[in-house]
Amino acid sequence: MKRLAAVSNSTRALGLGLIFLVTVASAQNGGTLRFCLRTEPKTFDPLKVEDEASVTIRYLTGGVLVRMNRQTQALEPELAVSWKVSKDTKQITFKLRTGLSFSDGTPFSAEDVAYTVQRLMDPELHSPTGDAFRSGPGSVQTKIVSPAEIIITFPAPVAGLDRQFDQVAIVSAHSPKKETAVLGPFTVAEYKPGASVLLKRNPYYWKADAKGQKLPYLDSIQLDIQPNRDIELLRFRKGEIDLINSLDSDNFDKLAGSTPQLVHDAGPSLDSEQLWFNQVARAPLPPYKKAWFRSTVFRRAVSEAINRADLSRVVFRGHAQPAAGPFSPANKFWFNANLKPQPYAPDAALKALAAEGFLMQGGKLKDKEGNEVVFSLVTNSGSKPRERMATMIQEDLEKIGMKVNVVTLDFPSLIERITQTFDYEAILLGLTNVGLDPNEEMNVWLSSSENHQWNPQQKSPETEWEAEIDRLMRAQASSSDPKKRKESFDRVQQIVAEQAPFIFLVNKNALSAVSPSVHGANPVVLVPQTYWNAEQLSLK
């Protein structure tokens, strides 16, 4: 009897186990995913979004006409079932899904798209997202063909027109809740300033999985505002948060040491670290220094004397790759594969400098007028990787007789020097690239632009190569042929590599951490690395 009872008990236990397993399997629905925002979101209006935290909320709540798949980098239909761009890239026609509603139940139609586009392009709104569409003077025209079809005509050609709509979250023309009525998988339910933002499942979200189950799987997402990365890491270790979207290499290795299964290195990201010299004619620098900085031979020699492999291996603990140019290999279409990172060649650098009249005397490099080559390299204080890179560059350049004084400044002082006073010699900073299209970098490459950092706001290009970059950037922006655009931008990348106005150093890898309790996560290099498929994430 006892034996029988024992069997009976174990059978019951097995039965309970099966019920538990079934419960776990069906628990794909529900649960709260938790992760951190590094700053306070500045706005919940998707058209005014500029900062990283607001971009995160827009991505999770906003419904867009087309979405770039962060894994394949291909454009996929969302609220639009199809779209067509005119040959002159001024006009785009969207055919829309029908029967959809905003999170408050207001029906969605072409009127909402027209309202969104008109508001986006309203100069009074100063929409940073709208800037990408402003390629010429004039106003945007919207023509509603039917509730499910709309034609949008811009006054001037917009390069990569369809891809730009990945950032445009549609807002409702009729909902009394205005921008808080959304078409994305989640909706903002609660905001505690300085503490957290709670997103809840949008009950009207239109997507379903292959089995017909409504998405998203999660009930809610809790976004805790936490600027300190070390505390974020501690909380992840304690299981208080489920993922870290962008880890630095120090924390990545700390975590990898104890729990390697939680960390993901998705390879080179779009971000780059670079150094540039001040080439501004009116900068308060001695003329002989301006002559060095405007010399291609000098800039290239500096580039050759920097050991990028060491920077990647030592500063980023191997979680970075030597950079070849403005775009990293992560940008599958636009990266110029013919470019290779500058190899470390201090001897070649010295030879080139000697040909230019520089002379090494007693371990010090002097120009032909006898001026010792000494310059300051400024970076922002608080960035450990940049401070370390600057110190390593200091030692690398000492080998070719250049004396570098490393200076760290707080970010506002640094930006003031770059954009207002031009009182600096060399800067070490990084570029965070969110978009893939070179059109989004027009403000960096055009010589007339404010963000043409090494010599901004030129009335006319001061060098032949900058004139050529201007011409090529405008050519690619006005063409609808991807092949021709690629040819133009490949040449831009080649000129930048040859002239070295920016000395590209490394591309950091996209590092993230995901708890094993998160099901369906597949970290990628593009932002947002870990939750790009948030609607398909679930908690085990």
Binding site: V314, F375, S381, K384, T391, Q394, N405, V407, D423
Partner: protein, 269 residues
């Protein structure tokens, strides 16, 4: 001399001795990057391991100690001399001089110190060599750190001014200059010494604060502030305990100074 003062003295002498022998103890220097072994744990080659870019941590600690221990007293001397000039003279002369000097002291005391240091440091020319950055940092500390001492000295000099023996000397026809050097200055000396010693640990800590903010001594020159930056993000004592050596040294040195000072104050009392 109490036992604690003796211990403090021995510790300080030991630390100063080691820091002066830096070039003998760490002949490769503080800037050499062993790039093949960044972030290495302690070993026979690197007694305290290497930092994140492969520099020998022991070399950086002993050279950094030398910089902090040589220049903090220099900054303390500058600040004490300024305090003596402003506070001592104002207290002794009294009247309008005293009011003006104390108003200036009040203004300086009400300034947010750290922000002022950050602003002054940011206004300096960028192209400053590491050695010059060390001098600039400690000069700044010296020039801005005289105020508290000036108040003490002003009060002491003020009480001396009205002391009977000073009145008697003045009544007997002694010149003011002679009076100052013969009677006032010798009586101010203990206070000046005390202020000098008090300022040293304060400046050591101030440099450490500036270094943590990246505004102190420039790379590759080491200082305690710069070395303490390594502790940012360290979440556990067990993780890499050897990284705490600069902090331990700072605590030991500052405590030694405090022990000596408190003992001196007891003697004076």
């Amino acid at each position: 001399m109490s036992i604690w003062r003796r211990v403090g003295c021995v510790v300080l002498l030991l630390v100063v001795g080691v820091s002066l022998a830096a070039s003998w103890l760490a002949p490769a220097g503080y800037a050499k990057q062993y790039r093949e072994s960044p972030g290495a744990p302690p070993s026979r080659e690197h007694w305290l391991g290497t930092d994140e870019i492969g520099r020998d941590r022991f070399a950086r600690v002993v050279y950094g100690t030398r910089i902090s221990l040589l220049l903090a007293p220099a900054a303390a001397l500058v600040s004490t001399l300024m305090a003596a000039f402003m506070g001592g003279l104002a207290g002794y002369l009294g009247g309008t001089w005293e009011r003006l000097a104390m108003a200036a002291t009040d203004v300086f005391l009400s300034l947010p110190w750290l922000f002022l240091l950050i602003t002054v440091r940011a206004l300096l020319p960028l192209n400053v060599s590491p050695i010059l950055s060390v001098l600039v940092t400690f000069c700044m500390l010296g020039l801005l750190g005289w105020t508290a001492a000036a108040r003490v000295l002003c009060a002491t000099a003020g009480s001396l001014r009205s002391a009977d023996f000073i009145r008697q000397a003045r009544a007997s026809g002694m010149s003011e200059r002679r009076l100052f050097w013969i009677h006032v200055f010798p009586n101010l000396k203990p206070v000046l010494f005390a202020q000098f010693w008090i300022s040293i640990p304060t400046f050591i800590l101030s440099e450490a604060n500036l270094g943590i903010l990246g505004l102190g001594v420039a790379e590759p020159m080491p200082s305690w502030g710069g070395l303490l930056k390594e502790l940012e993000g360290l979440v556990s004592l067990r993780e890499e305990p050897w990284k705490f050596v600069p902090l331990l040294l700072l605590v030991v040195v500052v405590t030694s100074f405090q022990v000596m000072l408190s003992d001196q104050q007891e003697v004076n009392a």
